[in-house]
């Protein structure tokens, strides 16, 4: 043991409920570079936080709303607010039922752009019973804008939204402290809310956080800056943050091509069509076909725009191999190095999307990439969104977020969601209704079904505090934090404790 005097942490981690679990390394899945691909974001807020006004303001100030649309709004509502703007809620609530009830029912997608970039906004309802819609919107989002009313500060809803966004893999948060004008542009108030939110986000493992004081109604710090009203704030406007945000992509893991279809236009050509779901590929690369395990080399990459020398994550391509191999839809072509996990048993987190919930031991269809197979789902825990703690559960009701065990009839192929969103995500389909009943994220492969004695197995680690902080910040760790005991001690004390165990 070192005796440098630095503080050490002792971490005891339990090994899962019934089985030995192979933990995946938690890797940063997205590239940290700016590009001009559309940024997908989700806006979350409670009913009266002014979400419609914020989105309306974004569309209005970037000129995404045209005059005839505004005229229709004015005609429909016969009213406008005191700034002479149309009622944005009417613009956004596109369905008749929504306009009649004055609430947003379903996730909608909005489009706007600036000189620098274009944006796709998933606009989701604020009501608690619509967790599923938020999960839907968050599934494709790169960034979450969490809206709070400056007068009310953080609500339970804020914690809930932040938790769901984190679970769905979002690692960039903007806290929009709205209606700052109604608290007299009070900097102390803003600072207090921002500080509280920062603590919440850090506890969820999110470190990219920007808090912005704004008045969506007056258009301050949304697209245009707040000017004289908030001289104390010199940070970016919302749009400036969005322009700088990063887009996720699966480039850091190995090559993945889920095969969507086999193209055989003639005897002489056989190509495998799909969208690269991770890494990159070039002619000459050796690849493995899963689940069969056969090996081949890439002969060429065919696209409509001539033959290419390389393809990267996100590219829709046709791959030609150098030999005849048996490949069909649902197979995955992957790099030799860094292959995904294959197995019959996986751990996952999921969001229950339908009224019938998720029933234990029911057989569902699972679709991931182009692969659809039978699966049995055993719920283990559910997340108590009020406390942020996981509690035991045997079934999952609608809107519940749960941890489950998945058991397949045939080999399944996954990466952990944390490492690759495209190959770690799945949906569950009820074979009785054909409806999509859950969205899920793979956390780990269960490499063996252990005996009962495995339940109590724990590991005590003693490690430098800075390393511990790194581990604690990982999403994999955050997801199971409640199972972990942590004590901060000096190196000498840790050494003494371990000596005691060794007897």
């Amino acid at each position: 043991m070192s005796s440098t005097g630095f503080a050490h942490q002792t971490i005891a981690a339990d090994h899962g409920a019934t089985a030995e679990v192979t933990a995946f390394p938690a890797t940063e899945a997205h590239r940290q570079i700016r590009d001009t691909r559309p940024l997908r974001l989700i806006t979350c807020g409670s009913v009266d936080d002014g979400k419609s006004t914020l989105i309306g303001r974004l569309l209005w100030d970037t000129k995404a709303v045209k005059e005839d649309q505004a005229a229709t709004l004015r005609r429909d509502s016969g009213q406008q607010n005191d700034l002479g703007l149309p009622d944005f809620a009417l613009l956004l609530d596109g369905l008749q039922a929504e306009r009649e009830q004055g609430i947003t029912i379903d996730v909608a997608y909005r489009y706007f752009s600036t000189d620098k970039r274009s944006f796709i906004v998933a606009d989701t309802p604020g009501h608690e019973q619509y967790t599923r819609n938020m999960a839907t919107g968050a599934s494709t989002a790169d960034l979450a804008v969490l809206l709070v009313d400056a007068r009310a500060g953080l609500l339970e809803q804020t914690r809930r939204h932040a938790t769901i966004a984190t679970l769905m893999g979002i690692r960039q948060f903007v806290l929009a402290v709205n209606k700052i004008d109604l608290v007299g542009y009070d900097q102390a108030r803003f600072d207090a809310i921002a500080r509280e939110f920062r603590e919440l986000a850090l506890s969820l493992g999110v470190r990219q956080i920007t808090a912005i004081p704004m008045s969506a109604l007056k258009g301050e710090n949304v697209v245009l800056d707040g000017g004289a009203a908030m001289r104390w704030y010199d940070g970016p406007t919302l749009v400036e943050v969005l322009e700088q945000a990063t887009v996720r992509s699966g480039q850091t893991v190995g090559f993945r091509l889920p095969v969507q279809r086999v193209s055989r236009p003639g005897e002489s050509f056989r190509g495998y069509q799909g969208t690269v779901a991770g890494g990159s590929v070039k002619p000459g690369d050796s690849v493995v076909i899963l689940p069969s395990g056969m090996v081949a080399n890439v002969a060429k990459i065919v696209t409509f725009d001539l033959v290419r020398n390389a393809a990267v994550a996100g590219d829709a391509i046709t791959l030609v191999l150098d030999r005849q191999v048996d490949i069909s839809r649902g197979d995955m072509i992957v790099s030799l190095e860094g292959q995904p996990q294959i197995g019959l048993h996986f751990d996952a987190q999921l969001v229950a999307l339908q009224a019938e919930g998720i029933q234990p031991n029911k057989r569902y269809w699972l679709k991931s990439g182009a692969r659809r197979q039978r699966v049995t789902v055993q719920p283990v825990q559910k997340l108590d969104l009020q406390s942020g703690k996981w509690v035991g559960a045997e079934a999952l009701a609608m809107n519940a977020i749960g941890k489950v065990h998945l058991s397949f009839d045939e080999q399944a192929i996954f990466d952990p969601y944390e490492a690759n969103r495209a190959t770690g995500a799945f949906i569950l389909i009820d074979p009785d209704t054909n409806n999509t009943v859950a969205g899920g994220m793979i956390t780990a492969k269960r490499s063996s079904m252990g005996g009962l004695h495995q339940d109590d197995a724990r590991v005590i680690l003693s490690l430098p505090a800075d390393l511990a902080e790194e581990i604690l910040a990982s999403a994999l760790f955050a997801a199971r934090r409640d199972e972990v005991d942590i004590r901060r001690v000096t190196a000498a004390k840790a050494s003494a404790l371990l000596d005691e165990i060794d007897g």
């Binding site: 005059e67 005839d68 369905l95 969208t275 409509f304 996100g314 969103r421 995500a425 389909i429 999509t436």
Partner: protein
């Protein structure tokens, strides 16, 4: 050592500039959807309206299945009242790209003399477009139909899924749509049910034009400004090239540089004054436009919530 992927791609496209990453991402997404539907459904069909969105849709379909043929037919729901230039263009595309075209015209139009002039645009659209579409889809036993609808077009479309589930009588229930997460689409249906698939869901009007320009996609010449004869009717400029247009009392034939932002049935589609004779002009015009493209479409304005109502009944 290989160069970066970006460099290589530049080298491969000597004649064209590389597609900007924004359009490339939209293209990739659309191709993915095309392939997924083609693989999962037994009898897909592509709705082909001959307009600019259809031109982009067709181009993407060709890209998705290259080097193979487009593995499904194109369905044109013809009302008999389309612009003549649209039909010429359509037939040229079919010939040039070796496509299978299925054309449907509702016989009720001729039998009962249902025209946009004699009947209101709401009734006319219901019979000649919605009913014809339903009949055509039933006749072909199609279980999936691609459409070129975009979510930025209209408020109810903003809520629609990429795979939009339809009952056996083609109804859309906006309150009971299947959740759609990531890019994983649920294509499971029972016999008689179908899915409308929208590969262009996330495209905006400007994206469409920029892509047409970047990919050099052919479009109907009516999109470009030209001196054309027209009459003003119900606040719209109606093209007067077709001899089926009869002047009402007080209407006068005018001529000016005009073009169309969308193309439908000529008596129901209004032109705009424009000097945009090239794609650059059109994009420049669009960027300063203060009205939406559907402003020229009579059918959207029949009543509040018009589009949602039509969609519930089976319209695209």
């Amino acid at each position: 050592m290989q160069g970066t992927a970006h460099d290589t791609r530049q080298a491969e496209r000597p004649s064209k500039a590389p597609l900007d990453p924004h359009l490339k991402a939209l293209e990739n997404e659309a191709i993915h959807i095309f392939r997924e539907v083609a693989a999962e459904f037994e009898r897909p069909v592509m709705l082909y309206s001959v307009g600019k969105d259809s031109s982009v849709l067709l181009h993407l379909a060709r890209k998705a299945f290259y080097p193979g043929r487009v593995p499904f037919p194109l369905l044109h729901v013809n009302t008999g009242w389309k612009f003549a230039e649209m039909i010429t263009f359509r037939d040229e595309m079919v010939r040039q790209y070796d496509l299978d075209l299925v054309e449907h015209i509702n016989p009720r139009g001729a039998a009962e003399n249902i025209t946009p002039f004699t009947h209101g645009s709401a009734f006319y659209t219901d019979v000649m477009k919605t009913e014809t579409l339903r009949n055509a889809l039933d006749a072909g036993k199609y279980d999936a139909a691609f459409g070129g609808a975009r979510r930025d077009e209209e408020a109810s479309r903003a809520k629609e899924r990429i795979y939009s589930f339809r009952t056996p009588d083609h109804r859309w229930d906006p309150r009971n749509q299947r959740p759609e997460l990531w890019n994983i689409y649920n294509g499971m249906i029972r016999k008689g049910e179908s899915v409308r698939a929208f590969p262009l869901s996330n495209w905006t009007e400007v994206d469409i034009w920029r892509y047409i320009q970047a990919e050099e996609i052919p479009i109907v010449p009516l999109y470009f400004a030209k001196k054309r004869p027209f009459v003003e009717r119900d606040g719209m400029m109606i093209l007067a090239e077709d001899k089926r247009l009869e002047l009402k009392p007080g209407e006068v034939l005018q001529e000016d540089m005009i073009r169309f932002r969308t193309l439908g049935c000529f008596p129901l589609t209004g032109a705009i004054h424009s000097h945009a004779t090239t794609l650059d002009d059109i994009i420049a015009e669009l960027e300063t436009a203060t009205v939406s493209e559907r402003q020229g479409r009579a059918i959207d304005r029949d009543q509040s919530g018009s589009m949602e109502k039509k969609k519930r009944e089976g319209y695209f």
